[in-house]
C-alpha cells in the first residue's frame, strides 16, 4: 500500500477522498494530518519507523507511524495508543492467523479484552453497556484496530475481507474486564502475567449472543448448574462453528456480576467453570448427523463436543448487573483454530503530550 502523503484543499475534501479510497470504516474519521500523526507517535515514545508486525492479507508493515495514523483517524487520545499497539502486536502473532481471519467468509472480528492498570488510566469501560456505544476509549481503541486492519492489512469487504455478513463488532470491539468486582482472578494472570501488568487479550469472535438466567440463592448448586447448562447450550448451538468444525478453538463468555456471583456461591473458580462448560457443551451425535448429514456422516462417538480445550474458554466479568450474560462463539478455523492471543501493554515508553482535537 502506498505511503504517499495525500493532499486536499480542506478537511471536508480530505474526508471525502479517504472515503473514496476505501480508507475509512464508512464513518467520518479525524483527518490524519502529518502534525496529528507526529504527535500521536510522540505519545508512544517509539520511533515512527519501528515495525510492530505484518498485517495480512496485504502483509502491510505495521509501523508505529501507520498505527498512529489509524489511532488519529479513530479519535484516540494518546493514552489509548499503547493499547492499540499491543493489540496489533498480539494480532500479528502467527497463532492469531490474522491473514486468514481477515479473509474468511465467517463474520469473525477481533475482540480486545483489556486487563490491568491501563483500564483506569485510559478509561476503558467494563460495566453497563460495555460493548455498546458511549465509551470513548472502548470505541476509539477498537476502531483504531479496525482501521489498521483496513489500511495496513488491506481488508476490503467483498474483495479481500470476504465475510458474508460481518457484524457490528467489526467497527469496534474492545472491553475491559471488571476486575475489581469479579470473584475470579484477572484474566491476564491466567496467562502468567502479574496483576500489576497491563495486558490485552485478543480473540476472534462472533457478535455477542444473550444468555438469560435468573438464579435462586436458596439453591446455589442447582443455580450454578442451570446457568452453566444454559451457557453451554449456546456454545454448542448446532449452527456454530465451535460445534461443526470440531471445537478446537476459543469461545468467549462475558458474564455479568450477578452470574459470576452464582458461580462463586457454588464454589466455581475459572478453571472449574471452563471444565464444566466443556463437559456440558455437547450435542448428541444423532442430532448432529440429522442437522449436518454431510459433516457428520463419518463421525464416530455418541456426542459431539464444542469445546475440546477448556483453557480456550475465555471467561471474563464485564457488563452491568442483571439477568444477561453474553456468549460469543468463534470461527474455529485457520491453521491455529482461532486461539486467543495476548500481549503486554508497554506503558513505560509512553510520553505525555498536550492534546487537542482542533489541530
Amino acid at each position: 500500500m502506498s505511503t504517499a502523503l495525500l493532499t486536499a484543499p480542506d478537511e471536508a475534501a480530505a474526508l471525502e477522498e479517504l472515503h473514496r479510497l476505501g480508507c475509512t470504516d464508512g464513518l467520518p474519521v479525524i483527518i490524519p494530518t502529518q502534525e496529528r500523526v507526529d504527535r500521536m507517535v510522540l505519545a508512544t515514545g517509539l520511533d515512527p519507523g519501528d515495525i510492530i508486525g505484518e498485517m495480512g492479507p496485504l502483509m502491510g508493515a505495521a509501523s508505529v507511524e501507520k498505527v498512529a495514523a489509524a489511532a488519529v483517524m479513530a479519535g484516540c487520545l494518546p493514552d489509548h495508543v499503547p493499547v492499540v499497539i499491543a493489540a496489533i502486536k498480539a494480532m500479528c502473532q502467527p497463532e492469531f492467523d490474522l491473514r486468514e481471519m481477515q479473509a474468511t467468509t465467517h463474520c469473525t472480528a477481533p475482540l480486545l479484552i483489556v486487563n490491568g492498570p491501563v483500564r483506569n488510566t485510559a478509561g476503558i469501560a467494563s460495566g453497563f453497556g460495555v460493548m455498546g456505544p458511549g465509551h470513548r476509549a472502548n470505541a476509539s481503541i477498537g476502531r483504531a484496530v479496525r482501521l489498521a486492519m483496513i489500511n495496513i492489512g488491506g481488508a476490503r469487504p467483498g474483495e479481500s475481507d470476504m465475510a458474508l455478513h460481518g457484524h457490528p463488532g467489526k467497527f469496534a470491539f474492545c472491553i475491559a474486564e471488571d476486575e475489581e468486582n469479579s470473584p475470579f482472578p484477572p484474566l491476564h494472570t491466567t496467562f502468567g502475567y502479574e496483576p500489576t501488568q497491563s495486558v490485552v487479550t485478543v480473540v476472534g469472535a462472533e457478535a455477542p449472543h444473550s444468555a438469560f438466567f435468573i438464579g435462586d440463592a436458596d439453591d446455589p448448586d442447582g443455580s450454578a448448574e442451570e446457568l452453566l447448562a444454559i451457557l453451554a447450550s449456546m456454545i454448542a448451538a448446532p449452527g456454530t462453528n465451535n460445534l461443526v468444525l470440531g471445537g478446537e478453538g476459543a469461545v468467549i463468555v462475558v458474564m455479568n456480576p450477578d452470574h459470576t456471583a452464582v458461580l462463586e456461591a457454588a464454589g466455581y473458580d475459572r478453571v472449574k467453570t471452563q471444565q464444566r462448560l466443556a463437559d456440558l457443551a455437547v450435542v448428541p451425535a444423532e442430532q448432529a448427523r440429522r442437522l449436518h448429514p454431510r459433516q457428520f456422516a463419518n463421525f464416530k462417538g455418541d456426542e459431539v463436543k464444542a469445546i475440546r480445550h477448556p483453557e480456550q474458554v475465555i471467561i471474563v466479568q464485564a457488563g452491568g448487573t442483571g439477568l444477561y450474560s453474553m456468549v460469543m462463539p468463534t470461527w474455529n478455523a485457520g491453521a491455529h483454530r482461532n486461539q486467543a492471543v495476548h500481549e503486554a501493554i508497554d506503558l513505560d515508553q509512553a510520553c505525555e503530550v498536550p492534546w487537542a482535537t482542533s489541530t
Partner: protein, 59 residues
Amino acid sequence: MSLVTEKFWPQGDFVAMSEGMSDLPRVQLPHPVAGSGQENMAKVAVEIRDQLVRSLERR
C-alpha cells in the same frame, strides 16, 4: 408506585423526568432482588413495607 433497585435508581430518575412525572412515588430496593432467595426477598419486603404504605397514603 414503582419499586426500583438501587442500581437502576438513576434510570428511574431519568424516565420519571422524561415522562413529566418527577414526583412519581418510588421505593428503593437493594440490588439484586431477583434470584436472591425467598428468605432475602421476604426480608426486603418487610423492610420496605412501611415506606410503601406511607407512599401510597400520600397519594
